[in-house]
Amino acid sequence: MLAIEAKGIVKKYSKKTILDDFSLNIEQGSIFGILGPNGAGKTTFVKSILDLIPISKGEILINGVKHHLPAARTRLSYLPEKFSFYPFYTVKNVLNFYASMKGLSEKIAKDEIEKALIELNIKGQENQKVKTLSKGQLQRVGIGCVVIGNPQVLILDEPFSGLDPIGIKDIKTVINNISAKGSTVLINSHILAEIEKITNEVAILDNGKCLAKGNLKELAKGNNLEDFFYKVIKESGEAV
């Protein structure tokens, strides 16, 4: 079964086309990377999946359920590009808010929050207010929020942004752990080196069009992701 199925997505802002007949299938249990230069339409696609912005045309299904229905997001977690929260909330308040919104019972929420705090190395900061956190700490809190409740689908928009190498390593471990449990992870990132290490399938977007998609090794044919990405984008630019 497909975790995410996008068929012929068109997204227009006034006259500008951001996503142009974009289709993508993401298998359950995979770690899928969406790549593309700035302005390619990656974040628009991610936001479209979550029905955060309306699409102009097409259909998106999440685990077989139409994306605009609340049921489609029942076991889905989303990390935005710049995770932020009400500045007066403490880290624990934020995690509790997520647990409640995900419908976790008090006991399960307590255990899951404790686990996330340890796994993400933010234990001891639970009473710190969001406004006092560094960018890296905040990103760890964001990842903590999305992993609690054992989600089936995780959508991570630039998860490595603002993190030091240790933070990146910690988050990759968390992603691998959650994927090992059978969850589907969709990552939208600029950091090609990290995407190459963690994903098995990728799609490359530019100007709202899908330029390449499939198994990373089969697509790259022995090249590294950076070279392959550069080649695809360059060829697309020349073709235009």
Binding site: K47, L50, D51, L52, I53, P54, P70, A71, A72, R73, T74, L76, S77, Y78, P80, K82, F83, S84, F85, Y86, P87, F88, Y89, F97, S100, M101, K102, G103, C145, I155
Partner: protein, 274 residues
């Protein structure tokens, strides 16, 4: 599950707003006003005697609680506009709307929860103020009580506040916050003027003879927007118990027009996205 999520969102809304400086300033202003009113009444009492020469309590013809109630009903309108402006806009400002919408909740549920939260905060202010009024006037040796008329009037004023919250929330999505607050204030004044002008309006053969553009605009506002002026008038009538308006028809009109504005608000947030 949906009930729990909406409750979480409701408490989140309360946490978001209760620390608001405006709310605290309003409460402080209320206490200061109460103390001044109580002191003023006490001072006046020193000069008022009954026929036998005995000093009497209170000022004849002035119900302190009603006077105070009328004052806070004006302030509550301001507070309602303030909270309405913040109710949804602050989620955009804190950049959390996309996270909230990524949970399995409907956007309309989110919208209604946010509006109701703001409404409950403003009504709470109203009730807290009345309670404070009762305590401070009693301390000041005034004979006061919260009459049934005040409760009846409060029920109508609470609808006025709900309308102010919804109108200001709508403006907050279209223009910057301060401007949204000012626009809400002017809209309420203009609607009220239209309502007072056309409250006894009936269509006759003479109606269309003296029609002007201003009159047309006024009529459109009177019939298509929530009648804030009429509500204020009903609220005053509730205090005295002399109701002259058709309450059922007015409430039906209010409910219908306000629902249309909420649907418009819903369309806008859906279109704007997170």
């Amino acid at each position: 599950m949906r009930k729990n999520q909406l409750l979480t969102l409701f408490f989140n809304g309360i946490q978001k707003e209760y620390r608001s400086k405006t709310f605290l300033v309003m409460l402080l202003l209320t206490v200061v006003t109460l103390i001044m009113m109580s002191a003023g009444a006490n001072f006046a009492n020193n000069f008022i005697q009954d026929k036998t020469g005995e000093m009497i309590k209170g000022i004849p013809g002035v119900d302190l609680m009603e006077l105070f109630y009328r004052m806070i009903s004006i302030w509550s309108g301001i507070l309602a506009a303030f909270f309405g402006v913040n109710s949804i806009k602050s989620d955009y400002d804190y950049n959390v709307l996309d996270q909230i919408w990524s949970f399995p909740i409907r956007k309309i549920d989110y919208l209604i929860t946010r509006l109701i939260t703001s409404w409950i905060i403003v009504i709470s202010y109203f009730i807290i103020s009345l309670g404070l009024g009762l305590i401070i006037f009693k301390i000041g040796q005034q004979e006061v009580q919260i009459s049934f008329g005040i409760w009846r009037s409060l029920s109508i004023d609470s609808l006025f506040m709900l309308a102010m919250i919804i109108i200001s929330a709508l403006y907050s999505l279209l223009v910057p916050k301060t401007l949204a607050f000012i626009c809400t204030f002017f809209t309420s004044v203009i609607i009220s003027i239209a309502n007072y002008s056309f409250i006894n309006f009936t269509i006759t053969s003479e109606t269309f003879k003296n029609i002007t553009a201003t009159k047309v605009v006024g009529l459109i506002m009177h019939y298509t927007l929530p009648r804030l002026g009429t509500l204020s008038q009903i609220s005053k009538q509730m205090l005295t118990g002399e109701l002259s308006n058709n309450l059922t028809a007015e409430l039906a009109h209010f409910g219908l027009t306000l629902t249309i504005i909420v649907l418009l608000l819903y369309k806008i947030i859906k279109r704007q996205g997170a």
